[in-house]
Symmetry: D2
Subunit: 338 residues, 4 copies
């Protein structure tokens, strides 16, 4: 039984707490949140203890592992604190919005990298994971073109946008990780940003983007993002190779098809957002983490994967701002290869 | 070049005339219709001659083959007349609504059966034909269960219904032929009729039916019919065997898919009716007939296939009326095996 | 918190125990199985007590409700025993293979019918349930034709077949309940059995069937069954009405599509069998039962639904054996209307 | 009846000749080809005259319109020659590989632009055309993101590649026209080329590309090209807007779906290449041209559309070579707006 503390009792912390509670080999023992009585409320649901004191998490003898689901600015200090206290860590993405801070984190946990996992949940989505596994088995030959469509159902609040680090670091980063997961080292990034929703006119951020990545292998990945999608959370991927293609169609809540006088074969809208769309992915992600903690094997994705995705997000941000393509040093995204 | 006369300048005759005109190895030379100036109008479109005199068709030296697209009651006399005049014949289904009359026809053309083809157009639909060919190649093993959905877009007029011979002889007969085409000899028929549309309350006919056929092979076919379908002309088929299944999905006018706030992946409505849905089938059917005439090979389906489908339609009509299953003599539907 | 005992530690009991363990408002307190140490093993997984003594279940003060997942022959005595002991009961289908025994059960629990639920899990499948809800909302008008395809992946063992009560009582009964769920009162049953797999040549049962049901409403349901399906567990349904159709497509494990030189858009095989295919249905079924116990509302489907499905299965068995259609007395399947 | 001469009896000329022959309001009267007896052979199929002398085409009194399907280097002189002779012209794409030559052509036909149509056949594909029409009707709001996948089944010969003008001018030009057709004026082009097939290692061309276009409207188009595709000719498009999305799925030869032990719902491979895939488009394109000639209305796409697509192809070629994005003068692609 892996005994787990969840740091952060917000939206994502609540997901992780419930996922831990359902896992047969994991136990939620502690919830931390400094604000109000959020920690107490979440802990009560699952019969766990609550604390406002972050040191209490590090010092808890009955905590084997920590899930960091707090706001991004405190990720690094909590990852370092937990690792130093001998805990295994699953840290939500992004590790930090500032690459220098991530590098500090990497230095600080040196020698313990194999105790830290970064929460790129999409790698664990059953449909994406199946595509990845079949690609690895050679079913389509080496991937030549990867196309990712990733659209949120509706824009976040202006407040969220202002502290998000921008579209590429906040939203595209998931897709950038997927590109690395499928293609390995990325050597060039080009991005075009769009201001689609009038609400973004007064924000210093874009709400649409097309990002093109060139891999060292010669493969090209295209990522199409939008902060809105009338049909819901649009999450798709196609890997194309010389022997064929594998496509991850966006799954729905059910498989009902409707026909009427005006249409045939209509599915329902897409799943609402990431909590619904990636419910199975969060379970599988935790399962991987718990297995790693139990067996002592290094989990994946690593903090280097988190760093590499941020390098790509920074490059995409710069490319969109300057209109230039950004060449990456060959080791920029490959210190920890998929 | 096969020189063709079309008898009947109504809806189906018009289709055949245009199909002949487009065929590179066929030439429309004569159109017959006794009513008004229908023959003249249709002939003018294609630069052919017109006549009101049926004997002129039989006597025309420049006519190699005749397509009988006249009203059902005159089919038999025209088939016999044309065959006796040495013409090859493609006769629209049904040969006649009265089995005794069909039998008279069979006797009358004895020795010339291989000059007469019956127009079960669905055998020539590219999608159904591909399923049939792949079944023959053994892709799913012997067919065990065949499911046919066949729904018209909207009911015909009461006048049409009254002289149609009833749903099973008028509409289901196509599906009965398809069942024979896939399963061979049929030994038992059971049918349930439905009165769905209030317009049929005062008609001596049903407008919905489920017909179950048992084949000598042990396979079972299910035919689901309706005289209405909100989405258009619904024409589908599934062949199931021990190694898998082959399904004929209803093709649409285009392959556009629409997604919105309330649905995703919606196709347009089905094609309107048989002229649109089976346009390619009519072309392929004529191609088969023209090839048969040119090469002297016997065309298929034969008049025996036309007779066998009528035997099944009669049995289905009786079963729906009495509530009894109808066993067929083993030779009833197999004198001309698919 | 509803405290639950599971009777039967076999395949379905194991499913129910795990489902209870995951339910936030239910607690597994006791597992019963008379054979070997099956009860002990299953109980240990979930930290529950085990017993070989059925009376211990009835007498347990800390048991609010019982799930009967034992072999069919002991269902009735256990339902009655539990109800008399004041427990709510969720009984697996079928209640019994013998209608007389079911009637005895109905009499024995008179006055407590609202404490007994029968486990027709398919009503709770998210896709089927959505079709049902949308039909109820009038989206396609009154259902006129219902088509159910229900095929197992592979035949059960000869031993299982011999005590199963036959295909219609063992397998079709689920589809018969679905027909009632969608169409209400059924007035006529006609069934054709098939012996498809050579393994069934020496068994007194069929392994394929097409069953046609006429509803009091005039609607017709068609059920197509097979004990084998190369692609896995094939579970589909189409409801057709004057305004359109709602189809329940068989969901897959993922939504990957594969294209290669020989095919495009290929999904993976169907889910293996009912444990995978109906995992969500079992959870929703338990959720409904737990809610009923907590709120005191009568659960559905009821024992009368269980009885009615058996009446239809008996009729289908007789129809397949005799070749006759079976008319049902108008109250045969409607004492407890959906 | 529009009397038509076809210049060029190669692959595309043969398609146009057959399309003319089938059109009820057009007549093929003359075929020109300078090489061997190609003109004679094609003319004979359709009962037309043949000539090796291009002036004979211009001088023919019984020729109303000319279809230019000759090799690209002679397009301009033939367009100009035919226009000066008073003929209407349908010219295959590209008008020329050299923009200066296209400009000369524009000057030379000044005042007769409305007599010249350029053969961007995809605008007339029924599926793409339906998406375009529904976009125009506002079904998804203004297009924000357009994604085009366009992959050939297999690379052309090295000889073809060497004189093709390169991937962007030869292949992508169709997609660039589609981008303009949907988005109007394009202001920025960025392209990444790929050398995927080893056969291209010694050729001065790429065989894969991802091209990103920014429209004046703010919309972004992404074009994904490959010279090979295991599944056949892959031609798809998705238009995304604030109210939803319209997708053009690649249609197949039939709508058969196959299920087996290893897969479900598999369609056949894509159609082989453009002759099959765009058969209906060529018919509709000719229909538009014939209507324009008969009514005197200007056809579309115009020579300015042909010029604008070449401007974009040149820009994409330069971008792929230099790694720089190419900004276009605001009038570069809009002299003739869609």
């Amino acid at each position: 039984m892996v005994r787990i503390a969840v740091i952060g009792a917000g939206r994502i912390g609540t997901v992780h707490a419930a996922t831990v509670a359902r896992h047969p080999d994991a136990e939620l023992v502690l919830v931390h949140d400094p604000v109000g009585n959020a920690a107490e409320q979440l802990a009560a649901v699952h019969g766990a203890r609550a604390t406002h004191d972050i040191d209490a998490v590090y010092e808890a003898d009955d905590v084997d592992a920590v899930i960091v689901g707090s706001p991004t600015p405190v990720h690094v200090e909590q990852v370092v604190g937990a690792v130093r206290a001998g805990k295994a860590v699953l840290c939500e993405k992004p590790v930090d919005l500032d690459l220098a801070r991530v590098d500090e984190c990497v230095v600080a946990i040196a020698g313990h990298e194999d105790r830290v996992m970064v929460g790129f949940n999409r790698r664990f989505d059953p449909t994406f994971a199946e595509v990845h596994a079949r690609v690895r088995q050679g079913e389509i030959g080496p991937v030549e073109q990867l196309t990712i469509v990733s659209r949120d159902p509706a824009p976040p609040s202006p407040e969220y946008v202002r502290t998000s680090g921008g579209l590429f670091r906040d939203m595209t980063i998931h897709d950038l990780d997927m590109a690395r997961y499928f293609l390995g080292e990325i050597v060039e990034v080009s991005a075009v940003g769009q201001r689609l929703d009038p609400a973004f006119a007064h924000l210093e951020d874009v709400d649409g983007a097309v990002t093109t990545l060139v891999a060292a292998s010669g493969a090209v990945a295209t990522i199409i993002n939008s902060r809105h999608c009338a049909s819901g959370y649009d999450q798709r991927l196609e890997a194309f190779g010389p022997l064929g293609a594998l496509e991850a169609v966006n799954p729905g809540a059910t498989s009902v098809r409707h026909s009427s006088a005006t249409r045939t074969g209509a599915s329902g809208p897409y799943l609402g957002f990431f909590l619904e769309r990636y419910a199975a992915a969060y379970s599988a992600e935790l399962g991987h983490f718990v297995d790693a903690v139990r067996t002592g094997r290094a989990p994946s994705p690593t903090i280097e994967d988190g760093r590499a995705a941020l390098v790509l997000a920074d490059a995409a941000t710069r490319s969109a701002a300057t209109g230039e393509r950004v060449r990456l040093p060959t080791t920029a995204t490959t210190r920890s290869h998929p």
